[in-house]
């Protein structure tokens, strides 16, 4: 049966004559006000002033005002759904027009804005949004309310299903990822975006070890990315070493940086840990910026060697006495070859990260990380060494950051401290948080949402960051544990579901 609160929000029968009367009053008032003020406009013409009529605007204003009034009356009488649909559709259409107008005032869809004045357009959009928002709020109150706990549980079940389904669509996604360079849609731009997305997926998976598994909030992850990138760049330029030789070194250097960060923060938790890691990230960047003799500071390092395919470079004309990739395989030279190779390189590195994480989660050290996240005191009471456990989490997470960094260096061919600012850490962390702590598939989804989509909407420039922020706020309010946060036990006593009979208790 209906509860009192839903009774309050029940639709009442409409009194149509009264509605028409009210709408009529509004029409008369708006028409009367606008016919003089909006309907006629003076305009400079050669030889004096002329009067221009704008009756179209008057009629539009009247129609909008009447529609708004009807919307309010419907809302008052608790008819939410037509208001929600009408005001929602109207405001959505207006927003599209307005954004189109911002992007391109003369050519795009912005030409079709109803009113001449931009302010009026924004104002009525705002009012429509308020109306739609109120309708949505009433509507949500009218339905039997769903408690936040229930919603969490429902989302958790959903996440669990997604994770189970990931067993099947994971290989499918992997297949698509492997086939991507050979699909007809694959052009230079798509591949560049794909490389970027996969880089962030890999970094997200790396950071997931520290944040998702060990529960150590690390705001300075970009420091390890930078250490990896600079390790490779410096080793390659000073000692003339190749990518494949430097890759393990870059990982080891980053892991050491992780231990270096780990030691002073062993006793810190939560916010304090976050602040120190944030500081560490900045420190690394400032050192790179100021140690001019070694790192060339703000000038950056250029001429970083490109990766080779087992020694075969991707150049049109290789140096005398060597062969390039396309010559060796008897292909015609294509500048896309190198991009495709980079794509496969980062894809392989990301897959290694994923495989490693999935595997180590089921090992004692992975379980200890999760236990540390849950309760450090309890860890000590069962003989887990919190120091070593934390340090392994920091160093292994950092190592993957370092691998990612050296890939970044070889892809760009040029690095400078500019590339390793705090915003990078924030984006990687946002991917982990949005995807759901500890969720591997969530990271993929979040990286596509946060990196891939904005790349394709680059035209909207700074509004991308607005959408980015809105997405983060929504997640924090709606599901703080992240989109697909669901923890599957690392080992089950009953892999095929619990036994039929419950115990005596």
């Amino acid at each position: 049966m209906a509860t009192p609160s839903s009774e309050e929000f029940k639709a009442r029968p409409l009194n149509l004559p009264a509605l028409f009367k009210e709408a009529g009053y509004v029409a008369v008032v708006v028409f009367g006000l606008t016919i003089g003020l909006v309907g006629f406009k003076t305009e400079d013409v050669p030889g004096g002033l002329d009067i221009v009529t704008r009756f179209g605007q008057v009629i539009l204003a009247t129609v909008v005002a009447v529609a708004g009034r009807v919307g309010f009356v419907l809302l008052r009488e608790r008819h939410f759904i037509p208001v929600l649909i009408g005001a929602g559709a109207f405001s959505a259409a207006m927003l599209v027009l307005l954004i189109g107008n911002i992007v391109d005032a003369d050519q795009g869809v912005g030409r079709f804005l109803p009113f001449e004045s931009l302010v009026v357009n924004w104002l009525i959009t705002l009012f429509a949004l308020i109306l739609a928002g109120r309708a949505a709020w009433f509507w949500s109150r009218a339905r039997p309310s769903q408690v936040a706990v229930d919603r969490e549980a429902a989302m958790d079940r959903f996440s669990a299903q997604v994770q189970r389904a990931a067993k099947y669509f994971g290989p499918l996604m992997l297949g698509v990822a492997i086939m991507l360079p050979f699909l007809p849609v694959a052009d230079r731009r798509l591949l560049d975006v794909a490389i970027l997305v996969v880089t962030y997926i890999m970094l997200g998976w790396g950071l997931n070890i520290v944040v998702g598994l060990a529960g150590l909030l690390d705001l300075g992850y970009v420091a390890f990315y930078a250490v990896g990138a600079y390790s490779y760049a410096l080793l390659a330029t000073y000692f003339d070493l190749g990518f494949w030789t430097c890759l393990p070194f870059a990982g080891i250097m980053a892991a050491f940086a992780g231990i270096l960060l780990g030691f002073p923060v062993l006793r810190l938790r939560g916010d304090y840990l976050a602040i120190v890691t944030l500081g560490f990230g900045e420190m690394v960047r400032v050192i790179l910026l100021n140690w001019y003799e070694f790192t060339k500071g703000p000038d950056g390092i250029s001429g970083i060697p490109r990766p080779t395919f087992f020694g075969l470079p991707f150049t049109r004309r290789p140096p005398e006495g060597t062969e390039s990739f396309h010559e060796f395989f008897g292909l015609t030279y294509s500048p896309l070859d190198r991009i495709i190779f980079l794509y496969y390189l980062i894809l392989a590195m990301a897959l290694v990260t994923n495989f490693f994480t999935l595997r180590i989660r089921k090992l004692p050290v992975g379980r200890a990380w999760e236990a540390l996240r849950e309760d450090e005191t309890a860890c000590r009471s069962i003989g887990i060494n919190p120091r070593n456990t934390k340090l392994t989490a920091f160093s292994i997470g950092a190592m993957f950051g370092g691998f990612g960094g050296s890939f970044f260096a070889t892809r760009q061919g040029f690095i400078s401290p500019e590339s390793f600012t705090f915003i990078e850490s924030a984006i990687i962390l946002a991917i982990v948080v949005l995807g759901g702590f500890g969720s591997q598939i969530g990271v993929v989804l979040a990286a596509i949402l946060l990196i891939g989509l904005p790349e394709f909407f680059r035209e909207l420039q700074q509004y991308r960051m607005l959408a980015f922020g809105a997405a983060m706020v929504t997640i924090m309010v709606w599901r703080p544990s992240g989109l697909l946060a669901h923890r599957e036990p690392t080992i089950r006593l009953y892999p095929d579901g619990p036994p039929e009979k419950e115990g005596e208790s």
């Binding site: 090992l363 050290v365 005191t377 069962i382 003989g383 887990i384 006593l493």
Partner: protein, 289 residues
């Protein structure tokens, strides 16, 4: 290991002149007692008497200000607990504990909680993760053994059917038992239980008594027990130590303690006619209507 054998004499755990100061506050003042193998030694006392502080010293959460804590390990001989790192005590000395306010790993499954208690053995078996990453047989065998041990304790604590539940979703009584099971998976020689019966109903308390007796008799280890529930303390304790304001005021068998005037005074207070403050006396005469 040490040549000292099981019956070298001396109690399992002896606490000598233990003193713990926090700044100016003396939480424990020169307390000495001992606990024997195959015995349940209860530590009782009013709130704030320093019982949990004794446990925290024994299990390495605090470093005692003064005092010696000697554990006569059946296999390893005499170990000085106050000189060990806190996290080493559970595995090296075999001292396990539970907490007054349950501390499980709530988002992890019941089985995982029990396997985590065998972390150090598994860590060695996994070759510090290298052998484990490569999926070597040695690690898989070790893990199977760990599961077998966990199953045994799940059985003893009647949690088998809930093995795959998240520990945090268990009912309160189950969480209490799971904490004991987790402590036992460490294979301790001394089990310290901090108010294991708190919040249990009479039926669950009776089950707890059975479980603790079982552990004492079948596994032949020593138990230290902090408890307020006298139905538990008096029924299963072999010996009782009473603390008050950080001092030991009595020690003996349950019957001795029951009739000890010092203990009764500590629990019930002095009987003396105290003049009420004037305000309170007025309040009693003219209650707010």
């Amino acid at each position: 290991m040490n040549a000292l054998s099981h019956d070298h004499g001396g109690p399992l755990i002896s606490v000598d002149h233990l003193t713990m100061r926090f700044g100016g506050l003396v939480a424990i003042d020169d307390v000495s007692f001992s606990g024997d193998n195959c015995e349940i030694t209860a530590i009782i006392g009013p709130n704030g008497a320093g019982k949990t502080t004794v446990f925290n010293c024994l299990t390495g959460f605090y470093k005692p200000t003064v005092g010696r804590l000697t554990l006569n390990h059946p296999a390893k001989g005499a170990l000085l607990l106050e000189r060990m790192e806190g996290y080493q005590i559970p595995q090296r000395a075999g001292v396990a504990r539970t907490f007054q306010n349950i501390r499980l790993f709530p988002a992890m499954s019941v089985l995982e909680n029990l396997i985590l208690a065998q972390h150090n053995d598994l860590m060695r078996a996994s070759g510090f993760s290298v052998a484990g990453l490569l999926g070597m047989r040695r690690y898989r065998d070790a893990e199977n053994k760990a599961v077998e041990r966990a199953k045994y304790w799940l059985d003893r604590t009647r949690l088998t059917t809930r093995a795959d539940w998240d520990a945090g979703n268990l009912p309160y009584g189950d969480q209490r038992r799971l904490e004991i099971a987790r402590a036992m998976c460490i294979r301790p020689v001394l089990l310290c239980l901090d108010e294991p019966a708190a919040g249990l109903n009479p039926k669950e308390s009776a089950e707890l008594n059975q479980l603790l007796r079982y552990i004492r008799d079948e596994h032949q280890i020593g138990l230290l027990l902090i408890e307020h529930d006298m139905s538990v303390v008096m029924e299963i304790s072999d010996r009782i130590i009473v603390l008050d304001y950080g001092r030991k005021i009595a020690a003996g068998t349950p019957d001795e303690i029951k009739n000890n005037p010092d203990v009764i005074r500590a629990y019930l207070g002095e009987t003396e006619d105290e003049a009420l403050p004037e305000v309170v006396a007025q309040d009693l005469e003219h209650p707010v209507s």
